[in-house]
Symmetry: C2
Subunit: 245 residues, 2 copies
DNA sequence: GTCTGGTCGACTGTCAACCATCGACGGTGT
DNA sequence: ACACCGTCGATGGTTGACAGTCGACCAGAC
């Protein structure tokens, strides 16, 4: 789980975080399990669109293709299921998740709950370090939007929100975020809805950080929640529009 | 996962819920997987205290004892890990979770986030059916407290909070609640902290429902959050007190 | 006496092969 | 058109085996 979290973090760019490693070699990477590699491979395929929504994932075939045993694939399925990328139907197998408008709405409401709380925690603590971490994240959004790369902007946007959860100091909040959100975000394909103006994004987030900086947990939470709810409504509407496929 | 949810619900007494089954045989239970049985068996053992915190769970031994194969046990481990009852250390195995004060605090903050939003959703929807469902749950708390059975009161208390999440209409909020909370609650042993007066519990929850009934999402959320935070501080303090073990 | 190095058993991670059973599909008979 | 039936593919679960690691123990070197 910890590994999955780290991977996802990397996946959308927080590798650039300011973790300035201490003097020498300290931690040594945790022993990597094969099942995790399999999970990554499958996740990548799904998110990249190589496996379309609703696809039936056949254990044996994937095992053969990835060169691992069925047991390992099963393990990967379970992790992906926990991330919400795959649904398992007893006796029928695993399927690439199909998202409906209600799913999107639900997940964004979870986001509102989780991120709102995270913001409140940081605000209540008047955590300067966290605030500067968030400011850095905004800077990365700004850079991305200056370059005009809309996909990168979305990644950095998402990274900002993950930072928020990570910096809350509550590992479980962060866990939940990582488990539910990035997958969804990527499934949506980065272009369900278009920004009016890329430049506005950074400003919008700056306002959020200001709300947190105010030191009033309730206000901070409210700001983030509103942010999530707006996104929820826009995205869900867009999805419902397409869902007629 | 759905099954696990149902089981946990049963585990703390919502079997008494008002689901009055329709006429005849309708649903037929979903095909039950062996791994789920194993999960239940282990969970029960852990929660009942048969397996003490920190115990190393050895795959082969458990497999033999439960009469299933190692693969099945592994699957069970992963589910328990998702519920937070077990920690998996790569190459070293699975261990019964050891809770510290910070863990408790984290989980109660997750509760505040989740339940706060659930309350806000119900309030915003002015959902009469949900309100009456919650009222029923309170009634069960009252009955339990009248009987003086403090353990039963705790179960019904927890059931109330699960109802809140379930009735929010957001399955994912409910999922998160079920995954994080009941296990913790039970791990705490039902008696980390004593109620001053059992009778107060029902009243306290009645106030929560009134806040929801007001129809103001923010107020409803705030009430629940405060409720959770108070519990958090009390319980965490109690745990830290004992932790010197 | 403590630190180093090696041995050994225990356990996990993974694989391959196998079986019973369930579900979906397609053909058949009515 | 519809219900029945048999086949085929896939899952759920088992067994047995094996390499790599971890942890503990033991013995010798500094």
């Amino acid at each position: 789980m910890t590994d999955a979290r780290a991977d996802l973090a990397l996946a959308y760019g927080s590798d650039a975080r300011g973790d300035a490693e201490l003097p020498d070699l300290v931690p040594i990477g945790a022993p990597r399990k094969l099942a995790l590699d399999a999970t990554d491979a499958l996740r990548e395929q799904i998110l990249a669109g190589g496996l379309r929504r609703g696809t039936h994932l056949v254990e044996a075939k994937l095992a053969a293709r990835l060169g691992v045993s069925r047991g390992t694939i099963r393990e990967a399925f379970r992790m992906l299921a926990a991330e919400g990328l795959v649904e398992e139907a007893p006796r029928r197998g695993a399927f690439v998740v199909t998202l409906r408008g209600t799913d999107v709405r639900e997940i964004y409401d979870v986001r509102a709950a989780i991120e709102g709380r995270a913001a409140a925690l940081i605000a209540g603590r008047r955590d300067e370090a966290a605030l500067s971490g968030l400011t850095d994240a905004i800077e990365r959004i700004r850079v991305a939007s200056a370059s005009g790369d809309s996909r990168e902007v979305r990644l950095m946007d998402l990274a900002f929100h993950e930072q928020l959860c990570a910096l809350s100091g509550n590992a479980r909040l962060h866990d939940i975020f990582v488990r539910y959100v990035p997958a969804l975000q990527t499934l949506l394909g980065f272009d369900v809805l278009r920004y009016e103006s890329l430049a506005d994004i950074a400003d919008e987030h700056r306002a959020l950080v200001e709300a947190i900086r105010s030191g009033q947990p309730a206000a901070a939470a409210a700001a983030i929640e509103r942010h999530c709810e707006e996104a929820r409504d826009k995205v869900a509407e867009a999805i419902d529009g397409i869902a007629s496929t």
